[in-house]
Amino acid sequence: MAERQIAFREAIAEAIKEEMTRDEKTFAMGEDMAVIGGAFGATKGLLEEFGEERVMDTPISETAIVGFALGAAIAGMRPIVEIMRCDWMTICMDEIVNQTAKMRYFTGGRPQIAVVIRTATEGGIGLGAQHSQSFEAWFTHVPGLKVVMPSTPYDAKGLLKAAIRDHNPVIFMEPQILYGASGPVPAEDYVVPLGKADVKREGKDITIVAWGGITPRVMNAAQTLADEGIDAEVIDPRTLRPLDIETIVASVKKTSKAVIAHEANKTSGFGAEVAAQIQELAFDYLDAPIQRVGAPDVLVPINRNLERIVLPGPERVIEAVKAIL
């Protein structure tokens, strides 16, 4: 029997639909996500299914979206909210970092702060420097948050369901470049637990850790490398906080070499944290310096050629691998 194939955006919509059916304390709100189903079509059908009382378009008020979600969670609801793009998370960082992430602490551990903040992240579609950023590194710096970033429809659905069921605030980052990508997604209920990395490809020569939109490109790179006789193991942490460092370190102990690839700017990207942990925990196993692939420290241009130069592709990953093989 052929596996069911659906697009990433459909996987998102399904996850929300299933969880909203499962628990009537959930509701969804955000800009333009009800009537037209979101700027990327990832919430299509929700309004029809659950009505205006549980699926709400909001004004352009990012602080209110997150702040109201937090308030609703305090009073017992389980909001799933959307900030249309990661770039605009800058607007509601206080609500996320100083309020939502800390509220359980400030109330002596009383309420569950079951808030999921979904956002489209990264670049690749020519929208330029205010519409192509990915701030996962920032969020991983914040105690109280969980940070999730899927790279396949399967993971997207399973992780989002887990995020919605989680009792903590979760930043759920959806690489915009992937919304149209299809992949196998079972029709049955399943969950991908938060905090578990996935070995996307087994290999013995080198470990490549990658997350977000670059992951499929890394899989291509691994294939190219395989054709040249280099057997790369590709690990997608999927959840960046908490990070499943055990799986990564186990792999590096096997391969003795590591490359980390993400699309965000390299400097102070989350790749730095992964590299720092690997060298700390597998120092004696490492044969070569850990390489990081990320966007150079520039802004993302709209010109498509330039954008392709800035956002790292498979060549950059292959280059990094070869630099230490």
Binding site: S61, T63, F68, A69, G71, Q99, R104, Q112
Partner: protein, 335 residues
């Protein structure tokens, strides 16, 4: 622009209620005067913001609340919590950083709460509670309860963008949240005239198509009435209101700033004296109760000494409370 309408079934304030209100005002005063003494001895970690002179706001407003209404406070919130019935020993323990405090001694004055009493609590971010209170209102609306939410904030907070975003959304969705701006005429060192382009903060209600009330914050009953009307409106599904209460803080911005050289140079001595003398809400209310024949000098003294006793007991509790355990630093970060 003031738009104060006395709507709603004005709940009859019985003698007992009035006396209880007075007691709660005194309790707050005693508590905060006591805190300042602790601070002088260096016993308060960080800082705390006392509300001496603003007790009528806390007491008037909370008296209007229903049992299960939520309260969202500010950085200056001891009074809000105590007025609403939070236990003094627990609050004091928290301000002193003791394990028995409501936040295990980890939050202090700016992170107090009492979840059993629907008190979300104080917040170290000015305006931090304004959106949250809207969200609480949204939840209550969704849950189809008849609860409401009362949100305190300051004149300073009213110029944060969150005020605008929250009030617009709260009004659009008609959530049962009452916004109470405690306009004590200063935001830290900034006087109202350098703070709000339109010094009539209640006039901002126009921008959100909601009622705006302006009330004398030295008159506990006036505060009660305005908030009661606003809460009733909220419960009727008519949405939020903006209640502005004019008051004054008789002490410095914070205990920390009081310690700084020049920390209170931003306002005239005479202004403080004037308010202290003629607009002290406790004195005013005591006078009123006496006029009503509800209070004598003796009964006032009795209340005062009972509150002092309560504070002494709280001190005893807090001082005998253990320090938080080292491993408690890991608690409450994740559920």
């Amino acid at each position: 622009m003031t738009n104060y309408e006395r709507k709603g079934n004005r709940m009859e304030l019985t003698k007992d209620t009035l006396l209880d209100m007075y007691r709660r005002m005194v309790r707050i005063r005693i508590f905060e005067e006591g805190l300042m003494k602790f601070d002088e001895q260096g016993l308060i970690p960080g800082t705390g913001h006392v509300s001496i002179g603003e007790e009528a706001v806390a007491v008037g407003a909370t008296t209007a609340m229903g049992n299960k209404d939520y309260l969202v406070s500010t950085h200056r919130g001891h009074g809000h919590l105590l007025a609403r019935g939070a236990k003094m020993p627990i609050i004091l323990a928290e301000v002193l950083g003791k394990a028995t405090g409501c936040t295990g001694g980890k939050g202090g004055s700016m992170h107090l709460s009492d979840f059993d009493r629907y008190i979300l609590g104080t917040n170290g971010i000015v305006g931090g509670g304004i959106n949250i209170a809207g969200g609480i209102g949204l939840a209550l609306q969704m849950q189809k309860t008849d609860q409401a939410c009362l949100c305190f904030f300051g004149d300073g907070a009213s110029n944060r963008g969150v005020f605008h975003e929250a009030l617009n959304l709260a009004s659009l969705w008609k959530v049962p949240t009452v916004y109470l701006c405690c306009n004590n005429q200063y935001a830290m060192t900034l006087p109202l005239c350098k703070n709000c382009a339109n010094q009539d903060i209640s006039a901002r209600a126009v921008a959100y198509d909601i009622p705006g009330y302006q009330v004398d914050g030295t008159d506990v009953i006036a505060v009660y009435e305005a908030v009661a009307a606003a809460l009733q409106r909220a419960r009727e599904g008519k949405g939020p209101s903006l209640v502005e209460v004019i008051s004054y803080r008789l002490r410095g911005h914070s205990m920390r700033m009081d310690r700084m050289p020049g920390g209170s140079s931003y306002r005239p001595e005479r202004e403080i004296e004037e308010w202290e003398e003629s607009k002290n809400p406790i004195k005013i209310f005591q006078q009123k109760l006496k006029e009503l024949g509800y209070m004598t000098d003796e009964s006032a003294t009795k209340i005062l000494s009972e509150c002092q006793k309560e504070f002494r007991e709280a001190v005893e509790f807090a001082q005998n409370s253990p320090e938080p355990k080292p491993e408690s630093i890991y608690e409450w970060i994740y559920a």
